[in-house]
């Protein structure tokens, strides 16, 4: 009986929070349908879908993916698939996929900072914005081409990463997060108000498209292949550094900073490097974004963007490259796919995220290491031991 009361209250609460958006009639309908759904859920929850079964299924999939030959064949097929994919899609879908590509690069960059080095950065979008604006300004003011601006933009962003990192990395955890958050807002406000250079809220128009010889990138499909190239480049670079000595040092810093220091790791330099190395890829994404949209304005670079990119990293599984790519894909494609829900789109997205976090807190493809961090086995064993004592 208590269970039913809880369900009733939960539905009521849900109705109450959706009421301002949906009106009283829809809110009541929503409450009733949630009550029914939850009552139906009871028997399902009891026998049918067990958490262990979900875990097991994921584990099997994960194991299969980890085998080397399978991995190679799969990657090959995946790349082939991506190469022919746009031939069968209309421009809208190609644009969505291109956008996904940009976010994959951003999420992979942030993954270096948050997932590997363990530095929470809530202002990552600032680096994205700096990349985009550096190409926008170089192109419209100085007439520098895309390929010329690309290294300049990336370098500028990497330098700004070092500049932010220098004072900020003395802080840890929550404090660092707040400083980076402030940095993100600062950059956006400067872009919004520095009219003479950034054209303020109007943004910068007529940015030149990339060119190769006399061939100019104009169609969505051209951009698709360009971003595919960049995504592959980013993935390979980050995979390489992940398995290198530097990647190990980042993991050590994340796990225990004092121990890392005692082992002779220059923690300040490594953290700075993680910061600017991660930012670099945001710069690349930004330059591409400006070239693709041919227009930049501050409103593309709000705090919400930083949060979404962070969600991609967490959702897919911090530290796992495949996971982060999957997370980015889900978070770009899902809102598009949910357009049928209209007003409830963001609600459905939020509910989906909560479900994943409840059932797979380490992310969809999060490794066992990450899982251990969240659910220490020692504690489980200890509790089991305690049980035996009691009896």
């Amino acid at each position: 009986m208590k269970k039913f009361l809880r369900i009733f209250l939960l539905s009521l609460w849900f109705g109450a929070i959706t009421f301002p958006f949906t009106g009283i009639r829809d809110a009541i309908l929503l409450s009733i349908s949630i009550t029914v759904l939850l009552i139906l859920w009871i028997p399902i929850n009891k026998g049918f879908i067990r958490k262990e079964r979900i875990d097991l299924a994921f584990k099997k999939i994960n194991e299969w993916f980890r085998l080397k030959t399978q991995k190679r064949i799969l990657t090959l097929f995946f790349i082939l698939f991506l190469l022919v994919l746009p031939l069968f899609m209309n421009n809208y879908f190609i644009d969505v996929t291109t956008l996904t590509g940009i976010y994959i690069i951003l999420a992979l960059g942030l993954n270096v900072v948050v997932g590997l080095a363990g530095l929470l950065n809530l202002g990552f979008v600032a680096f994205y914005a700096l990349g985009a604006y550096s190409y926008a300004i170089l192109s419209t003011q100085a007439g520098i081409s895309f390929w010329g601006s690309l290294p300049i933009g990336i370098l500028l962003v990497a330098i700004s990463g070092v500049l932010l990192g220098f004072p900020a990395l003395r802080l840890r955890g929550d404090y660092l997060a707040i400083v980076t958050l402030g940095f993100g807002e600062m950059v956006r406000l400067v872009l919004n108000n520095w009219d003479s250079v950034t054209k303020g809220p109007n943004g910068i128009l007529n940015i030149a498209p990339p060119e190769v010889g006399s061939f100019a990138f104009r169609e969505p499909i051209h951009y698709y292949y360009l971003i595919l190239f960049f995504v592959i480049l980013t993935t390979l670079a980050i995979k390489r550094i992940n398995n290198s000595k530097v990647g190990r040092a980042w993991v050590a810093i994340r796990e225990d900073e004092v121990a890392a220091e005692a082992m002779g790791i220059d923690t300040i330099r490594m953290k700075l490097f993680a910061f600017s190395f991660g930012a670099m890829w945001a710069g690349l994404g930004g330059v591409f974004f400006a070239a693709k949209m041919r227009f930049v304005s501050p409103e593309s670079f709000t705090f919400f963007e930083s949060v979404i990119i962070l969600c991609m990293v967490i959702l897919g599984g911090m530290g796992s490259i495949a996971g982060v790519i999957l997370g980015a894909m889900i978070l770009v494609i899902l809102p598009e796919a949910l357009r049928g829900f209209e007003n409830y789109r963001m609600l459905a997205l939020g509910a989906g995220l909560i479900l994943i976090m409840v059932f797979k807190p380490e992310g969809i493809l999060g490794g066992p290491r990450r899982r251990a961090e969240l659910r220490p086995d020692d504690e489980k064993t200890l509790m089991q031991e305690m049980e035996t004592i009691k009896r």
Binding site: A249, V258, M263
Partner: protein, 233 residues
């Protein structure tokens, strides 16, 4: 080999070390004993560069090292086994060891690993296990082994017997002796003063940030004051 000259270290306004002088000679085991808060751990942290002294000089093999960062001190040949072991629980034993050799060239790992596994056979058995699954004693061995991977000339050990059953602690002390006989100088901080003094050649007694006594270990073991204060007699 190592000389601390009139070292002062503070945590904010609190002075933890008030002008201490310590000397460690080549191939020695030297131990620091004293109560809680006497400044033993701070001394080690100051040597390894994690804490900076506010005054005084630290000289290692004729070089001043008190104002260089911790990673350069490791390169110079001083490795610290921090208090509470601080292994990386989610990395495997092998990965932990490899991290220890961070400052060394890559082929060094292959060269030194056999020696490590010979000294710590249990780590060889557990090579692929993650560090967090080891028992307390094994974790301590891993922490010591990890410090040795950097090929130190001087090993700083902070409370190696902390939280270990007596028989396991005994094993750890035996290993420390063995390492010392293979040519590594050891500076040891221990709560268990009796065991430490039996192991060490010389000892320093610390009280509230000062060195109050400095003797060879034998003499300290027989000193009535020390017996009363630290050996529980």
């Amino acid at each position: 080999m190592l000389k601390l000259e009139n070292i002062y270290t503070s945590y904010g306004p609190i002075e933890a070390l008030k002008g201490i002088n310590i000397e460690v000679k080549e191939k020695e085991i030297v131990c620091l004993i004293g109560g809680n808060g006497a400044g033993k751990s701070t001394t080690l942290m100051t040597i390894s560069g994690i804490n900076r002294p506010t005054k005084g000089r630290i000289i290692f093999n004729g070089e001043e090292i008190h104002n260089i960062p911790p990673h350069r001190i490791v390169e110079k040949g001083i490795s610290q086994v921090p208090e509470g072991r601080r292994i990386l629980p989610r990395l495997t034993v092998k990965e932990n060891l490899e991290m220890g050799a961070f400052t060394r060239p890559k082929n060094d790992i292959q060269e030194i690993l056999p020696w490590i596994f010979e000294t710590f056979p249990v780590l060889k058995e557990r090579e692929k296990q993650s560090g967090g699954t080891l028992s307390g004693g094994e974790q301590q061995m891993l922490a010591i082994a990890r410090a040795l991977m950097a090929r130190p000339k001087l090993l700083l050990l902070d409370e190696p017997s902390l939280g270990l059953a007596p028989i396991v602690a005994g094993k750890i002390f035996k290993i420390i002796k063995e390492i010392n006989e293979k040519g590594v100088t050891v500076l040891l901080v221990e709560q268990n003063a009796k065991a430490a003094l039996k192991l060490a050649h010389r000892g320093y007694v610390m009280e509230t940030g000062r060195i109050v006594m400095k003797e060879n270990a034998e003499a300290l073991l027989n000193d009535p004051g020390v017996r009363k204060a630290y050996l529980g007699e």
